[in-house]
């Protein structure tokens, strides 16, 4: 039992609703406390960062007519997210110009910094998260653990999503609105699990129109809905009514969201090119995904392939990667669906085009939802918490650069103190988890001590970043493979509870194991031997 259950049980005894209420308030306090730290681009003239981008979009949408939103000043943080983000910015732009008019003036306020604007922006994240993320996650968590003795588990799993370290640090530290997208996605998933396909597709279109990144989930959701229309769930009879409902909702919602732009083909093209910039490259910075690791391991991708071939290459790899999860989703076993979405987004993170380190939020959030579903299963929880930590470590170079070291370490400690449940059951999983923690520990120690001399540091400036990246890649790849294995187990024993002990993951999986991952498994073995 995680220590969070022990802490909350006296509150639960006083009133059953009390722990949820207190936990929610304290999470908000924690978000705000992280928000006291610096943000992306803090004091970085003249570039600034995501914070300035969001602030600029708020004033831009407020002052400009809607047909200039996507046309305005491409050199200063142009609006390159889909329209729902623009509408969201507009709402906060209206409130912001009322409260702090001088901080939102289109031409003069570029790169403005100060206590008030910072607090306002931090508050907009918290408010959006409270309105769109919290209710969705709460209803998601109340779907599971419904029998009385484990009712407290609902609150604990709720808290485990609210405090998800990567999300917390990126949204409230680095500054972004990922929680809005993930909240909408959770709503969509909630309705999907309740077989309300109209609402599910409605919310998923909203998700897509908030951030294009949520395309990571799209194939699996598509497969799940398709499976419910013509798949085994309906005995391969075409459920036309359901199909029609979903298609009308998708098209209708998309049309409504694009309505201001829909009559001008130039506008639509402009939005499309801004939202999907093909020219950005295969990955950004140093991401712990397949391509970037391949590059650093010694296989220089750019020497072997043309620039124009890269999108196709990554597309092919991604399609192979998502096949198993799409197939499992198509089969229509609902208890596997969340796992399928997680696995699908993991393969996008590993193989798709133009991935940056923050993209890890999508797969890790889907995995967090899986963990709430199986909150009382120690094995799944142990593995997922390990993946949380690994993905969190993979964000370390970014957050360190922004001066969020203190917040990083504290949130890591708080989360693991609250939710540590134990180590995985199987000896091989134990080995992998242990080795990876050891590896991260060594990299972290070397980076933050005097053991490595200045000469080495200046000769290899990226030494630790690359070390971190390699460790994260191997671990996350293993996690992805393990997750596909669990999907296989669950789909095979359809509608039966999860096996407590997962058998040998490396023997058989239906996941197309890439050469790289097999190597990584072997590497792990070798290391310990």
């Amino acid at each position: 039992m995680a220590s969070v259950n022990r802490i909350l049980s006296p509150l639960y005894k006083a009133r059953p609703w009390l722990p949820t209420f207190v936990v929610l308030l304290l999470s908000v306090a924690l978000w705000a406390a992280v928000g006291l730290g610096p943000y992306s681009g803090y004091n970085c003239t003249p570039e600034f960062g995501d914070f300035e981008a969001q602030r600029h979009w708020m004033e831009l949408t407020y002052y400009l007519p809607i047909d200039e939103w996507y046309m305005y000043k491409p050199q200063w943080w142009k609006l390159d997210y889909p329209p729902l983000t623009a509408y969201h910015s507009y709402v906060f732009g209206v409130i912001g110009t009322y409260l702090l008019p001088e901080a939102f003036e289109l031409s003069t306020s570029e790169g403005i910094e100060g206590e008030y604007i910072k607090s306002y922006m931090r508050a907009t994240v918290i408010v959006s998260q409270l309105l769109l993320f919290v209710p969705a996650v709460y209803s998601w968590c109340s779907m599971f653990n419904t029998n009385t003795p484990t009712k407290l588990n609902r609150t604990c799993s709720f808290l485990s999503v609210l405090l998800l370290p990567s999300l917390l640090l990126i949204d409230h530290g680095h500054f972004q609105f990922n929680s809005v997208m993930l909240g909408l996605f959770t709503s969509s998933l909630y309705y999907l699990m309740n077989s309300n396909f109209v609402f599910a597709s409605f919310y998923f279109v909203l998700t897509l129109f908030f951030k294009q990144m949520s395309l990571y989930y799209a194939p699996a959701i598509f497969a799940a809905i398709l499976g419910s229309c013509i798949g085994p769930a309906v005995n391969f009879k075409f459920n036309f009514k359901r199909f029609l409902g979903v298609s009308v909702t998708v098209l209708g919602t998309a049309a409504c969201l694009l309505y201001p732009f829909i009559f001008d083909i130039d506008q639509l093209l402009q939005i499309f090119t801004r939202v999907f910039p093909v020219s950005r490259g295969l990955w950004e910075d140093k991401v712990s995904n397949f391509w970037c690791t391949l590059n650093y391991v010694g296989f220089k991708i750019h020497d072997h392939f043309e620039e124009s071939q890269l999108p196709l290459l990554s597309l092919a790899a991604t399609v192979i990667g998502i096949m198993p999860s799409m197939f499992a989703a198509f089969l229509g076993n609902k208890s596997v669906w969340p796992l399928c979405f997680a696995s699908c987004s993991w393969s996008f993170y590993m193989f798709s085009f133009q991935v940056h380190e923050k993209s890890v939020l999508l797969p890790i959030f889907a995995s967090a939802l899986v963990a709430t579903q199986y909150y009382s299963n120690r094995n799944i929880n142990a593995m997922t918490r390990w993946a949380f930590n690994v993905s969190y470590f993979s964000l370390w170079p970014l957050l360190r650069r922004e001066g969020l070291q203190l917040q990083f370490v504290i949130i890591y400690l708080i989360y693991n103190y609250l939710f540590f449940t134990g180590i995985p059951d199987h000896w091989f999983n134990k080995l992998v988890v242990f080795t990876s923690y050891l590896g991260f520990g060594v990299v972290f120690l070397l980076e933050n001590s005097n053991l490595v001399s200045e000469a080495v540091r200046s000769r290899y400036p990226d030494l630790f970043v690359v070390g971190n990246m390699l460790m994260s890649f191997v671990s996350l790849m293993y996690f992805w493979v393990w997750q596909n294995w669990i999907i296989l187990c669950l789909s095979k024993s359809s509608f039966t509870p999860v096996p407590e002990k997962s058998s040998l993951p490396e023997k058989t999986t239906n996941a197309p194991k890439s050469k790289q991952s097999r190597n990584s498994d072997r590497k792990n073995k070798l290391k310990v031997e």
Partner: protein, 496 residues
């Protein structure tokens, strides 16, 4: 209690970059003074506006602390005596903030000694005290060393409960040499020790006298040694400055807040209001309609109430009640009371809140009023959400968990008060947006402090009446012991 300590300390670490008040620079300046100057100049030094105005033990404490300042903080200007506000950066902040966190161990230790001090549900009470957002607001945001000070007070109280009179008296004397604020509760110690210990035999009196005087000798002796009587007079001048107003810049939620509010309302009605009270740091209050209040008046009123407590509520089992009542009367009727002093009431009342239904009601009302009354201290926008969330979470927890543990129910009047508070706080934040009221800049703080004073008064009356007229039966005491045993068993089971 371990999880609470771990989580709360981690949370407090996150507050390092938060706003800190001028008290931060005050303490930094004291570090600089005690480190750089010889002892005889400590209380004469006045380069900076933030002169040393705490008793000698606190100065010694700063002196010792100044040796552990790391090199990075020294280079940062942590130990420089400067005329204007200190120039310091992140290393100094980290050092000073961690020293607060470290000295809070004293409070934690004190709470562990509560076991076996004749308190009902000691675990519940220690969690109640430890998690109080007042520590976060005062120590970890605003910046002070209250955790350590109240830790000493608590240890002293538990010694008294265990009938170790000399140890208790000694610790209290030490505490007084750290911070003279605790003079508020000194009458209670005086009366209780006199009645239950000193008057038993002459030997006791002698022992007690020696034990209580020795800390004062240790504290003030060196200053007499180095600069004679002048040194002592100078310390006295610093500790008890004159020319301060009746109320502090933010009105403390005490009786005078209600009084001043009444005067202002009359002023608005008769349109003869001359000044708004104490806009600046220190200033005299003028009343346009009501009687002027002098320091002497406040002294007489608070002494009357303290005498009542000292005479009627100093029985063997009533020490904590006596302390609470003395603190109440000083806080409610004292001259130039600071809102931070409300902790001198909250902490002892927490110790007896599980004893009787009326105490529990009084405690819940007091802790709500006290914590909300502290919130105006943190006025920066960055901590806005944080302070309200912490306070609301804590108060909700208290209002539901304490009744369910003790089996007592909240009275309708407490419920009504809490409900009012719940409506008033958001309302007060919206006040500046009401154009009609926005010209009264003090309206917001005034509204909060007046409502909170009503809460403190309500709580005071409840404790006073209950301790004077509710008789404690032997039967009640027995059940207390029994319940304690049962409670431990239950908790044991839960852990298993």
């Amino acid at each position: 209690m371990v999880p609470e300590i771990v989580l709360s300390s981690l949370f407090k670490l996150l507050l390092f970059p938060a706003y800190h008040s001028t008290d931060f620079d005050v303490h930094r300046n004291w570090l600089a003074i005690t480190h750089n100057l010889p002892l005889r100049e400590w209380y004469f030094e006045n380069t900076s506006e933030w002169t040393l105005d705490y008793p000698p033990f606190f100065a010694f404490f700063e002196y010792l602390l100044s040796f552990s300042v790391p090199k990075s903080a020294v280079e940062d200007g942590c130990l420089n005596i400067v005329a204007e506000d200190g120039m310091y950066g992140w290393p100094t902040i980290v050092f000073q903030r961690s020293s607060v966190l470290f000295t809070e161990l004293c409070l934690i230790y004190a709470l562990t000694t509560l076991m076996g001090a004749g308190v009902r549900f000691p675990k519940l009470i220690s969690v109640l005290i430890y998690l109080c957002p007042a520590w976060v607001v005062l120590d970890h945001i605003h910046f002070q060393y209250n955790g350590a000070m109240y830790g000493l007070l608590l240890i002293s109280i538990t010694y008294m409960q265990k009938q170790k009179y000399l140890k208790s008296a000694f610790l209290f004397a030490v505490l007084l040499c750290f911070k003279h604020l605790y003079l508020y509760v000194a009458p209670a110690y005086f009366a209780y020790l006199l009645r239950n210990y000193a008057l038993r035999s002459f030997k006791n009196l002698l022992k007690l006298g020696l034990v209580t005087l020795s800390p004062f000798l240790l504290a003030f002796g060196p200053f007499y040694w180095t600069s004679g009587v002048d040194g002592l007079i100078q310390i006295k001048e610093r500790l008890f400055p004159f020319a301060r107003g009746l109320t502090h810049s933010y009105w403390a939620p005490n009786f005078w807040a209600v009084y001043t509010f009444g005067d202002r309302v009359m002023g608005i009605i008769y349109r003869n209001s001359t000044v708004s009270s104490t806009r600046g740091i220190v200033g005299q209050v003028e009343f346009s309609n009501f009687m002027e209040i002098t320091a002497k008046t406040t002294f007489i009123i608070s002494t009357i109430f303290q005498l009542i407590a000292m005479i009627f509520v100093s029985g063997r089992s009533q020490f904590v009640e006596c302390v609470t009542l003395c603190a109440f009367s000083s806080f409610l009727f004292g001259y130039h009371v600071h809102e931070k002093a409300v902790l001198t009431v909250i902490v002892p009342l927490a110790l007896i809140c599980t004893k009787r239904r009326s105490y529990m009601n009084a405690f819940i009302v007091l802790v709500s009023a006290g914590c909300c009354g502290l919130l105006p201290l943190i006025f920066t926008p960055a901590e806005f959400i944080l302070k309200y969330c912490c306070t609301l979470a804590y108060l909700t927890m208290v209002a539901f968990v304490v009744p369910s543990y003790t089996g007592y129910s909240l009275s309708w009047i407490s419920k009504l008060y809490l409900l009012g508070l719940l409506l008033l706080i958001p309302g007060s934040e919206l006040l500046p947006f009401v154009t009609y009221l926005s010209r009264y800049s003090f309206a917001k703080n005034m509204l909060v402090s007046v409502y909170c004073s009503l809460g403190v008064l309500l709580s005071f009356i409840q404790v006073l009446l209950a301790s004077l007229f509710e008789k404690e039966s032997a039967q009640e005491y027995e059940t207390v012991v029994k319940i304690e045993v049962e409670d431990d068993k239950v908790e044991f089971k839960i852990i298993e």
